[in-house]
């Protein structure tokens, strides 16, 4: 698994900037699964597949739980501790004084906002039911029908916030590409990026730790699907 990272060696890189690992496989998988499932959730609920919508939401919940744990024990760039920072770092970044791999301090703000809004979206969805009372999130039975209806309204409202953040996310990627000539999408696919950073390389996580995180996330997801006993059915 660990491989020799190419150092800054012009001869080896044919004049190209060196490639470094920046995103591990779990980070990339979670990213693209989230993107796909959010699109699928939107499509399915508007096309008479509310049952699929609910399963998609439960899967997103599981991914979020996994990512939360991977943010503690995962690779160095996956860890919250490595990219959650205060305003001072953001200012440093904006002044061009920040160097590193992984999320920039400004990008990290966007990631944290996205993560929170998706978590709120999924959390609301668990307690929501549809207008006709034909479909309900796995925890809707824990609240009254009126509360569940109101939660659905917030679920719909919060989706607009999520759409706004996704729009900002995509706009920022386009901005970096068009204005700074920086490709951000390819590294999220290949895991590698051309970076000038000469500091310590990305430290990968353990594959078995990823499996343990996944197992715990799936177990919690299953518990929620079962209605969160003993609180629900």
């Amino acid at each position: 698994m660990p491989r020799q990272l190419p150092q800054r060696d012009e001869a080896l890189n044919d004049g190209k900037r060196p490639q470094q690992r920046v995103w591990d496989l779990p980070v990339r998988l979670v990213h693209w699964l989230l993107a796909g499932l959010i699109a699928f959730s939107w499509w399915s609920v508007h096309n008479q597949h509310t049952d699929w919508h609910i399963w998609s939401g439960v899967t997103i919940l599981t991914l979020l739980l996994f990512r939360l744990m991977w943010g503690v024990v995962g690779s160095s760039t996956a860890r919250f501790a490595s990219f959650v920072s205060g305003p001072r770092q953001v200012v440093r970044y904006l002044r061009g004084e920040w160097t590193g791999i992984g999320h920039t301090p400004l990008g990290a703000l966007s990631i944290i906002a996205l993560f929170l809004v998706i978590a709120v979206q999924v959390g609301l969805g668990l307690f929501a039911e549809d207008e006709d009372g034909l479909y309900a999130g796995p925890l809707a039975g824990l609240v009254s029908a009126d509360t569940s209806d109101r939660i659905r309204d917030f679920h719909e409202l919060n989706f607009n916030i999520l759409l706004g953040l996704i729009g900002l996310h995509v706009a920022a990627i386009l901005y970096y590409r068009l204005v700074h000539g920086k490709k951000l999408t390819k590294p999220m696919i290949t895991g590698r990026a051309e970076v000038d950073f000469t500091g310590p390389p990305m430290r990968p996580g353990k594959w078995w730790a990823a499996l343990v995180c996944l197992a715990i996330a799936v177990a919690i997801g299953g518990w929620v699907v079962a209605g969160a006993p003993p609180f629900g059915t």
Binding site: G133, L134, A136, G227
Partner: protein
């Protein structure tokens, strides 16, 4: 639920095979009656197609209002039912009241969809397809009415397993119709 939906649509396919699904729009008020579709569906289909005299705007809006209120009340009762029937110990008194309310509305529903009460008249969740495929819609409506009565009858008894089974059937008939004929409507 899937299985319920499948069997409902299989039954529907049989009905349609008898009735000839794609009759021309102009003729479907009367000429289809003799074509051999099952009597209740055909009778309902004639109620869904154009009335002898077009509705006045006030009449149409009144029907649409009643329809909306009725559907909303069915939804409310359905939410009570889903909660009770997924709980460990269902409150059968609440279940019976909700089942009776839905059965009552299901009978009223025969008069809810005359031609001229679609989205061209006012705000409604009823899709124009209702009046483009009156036979299919009528048979789905009929399935709902039968299922609502059967559920109401089961609810009066004390067999919770039977009540749940009839409730599941009922939900299948709601979905079968809403999937094709209900649009999202904000109010």
């Amino acid at each position: 639920m899937r299985i319920v939906n499948l069997s409902a649509s299989a039954g529907l396919a049989l009905l349609l095979a008898c009735g000839g699904p794609q009759a021309s729009q102009a003729n479907n008020s009367q000429t289809n009656i003799g074509n051999g579709a099952s009597p209740p569906a055909t009778a309902a289909a004639s109620a869904i197609a154009a009335a002898a005299r077009p509705l006045t705007a006030a009449q149409a809006l009144k029907i649409m209002h009643d329809r909306h209120e009725g559907m909303e009340d069915i939804g409310k009762n359905n939410k009570v039912l889903r909660r009770e029937l997924t709980a460990a110990a269902p409150d059968l008194t609440a279940v019976r009241a909700a089942a009776a309310a839905i059965a009552k509305h299901s009978s009223e529903a025969s008069a809810w969809f005359p031609a001229g009460t679609g989205p061209e008249v006012g705000k409604t969740g009823a899709k124009p397809e209702i009046w483009q495929k009156p036979q299919d819609f009528a048979s789905k409506l009929h399935n709902f009415q039968v299922a609502a009565q059967a559920f109401n009858a089961a609810a009066r008894g004390g067999d919770v397993a039977a009540i749940k089974a009839r409730y599941s059937d009922l939900g299948g008939t709601c979905k079968a119709c809403h999937d094709s004929y209900r649009s999202e409507m904000k109010h």
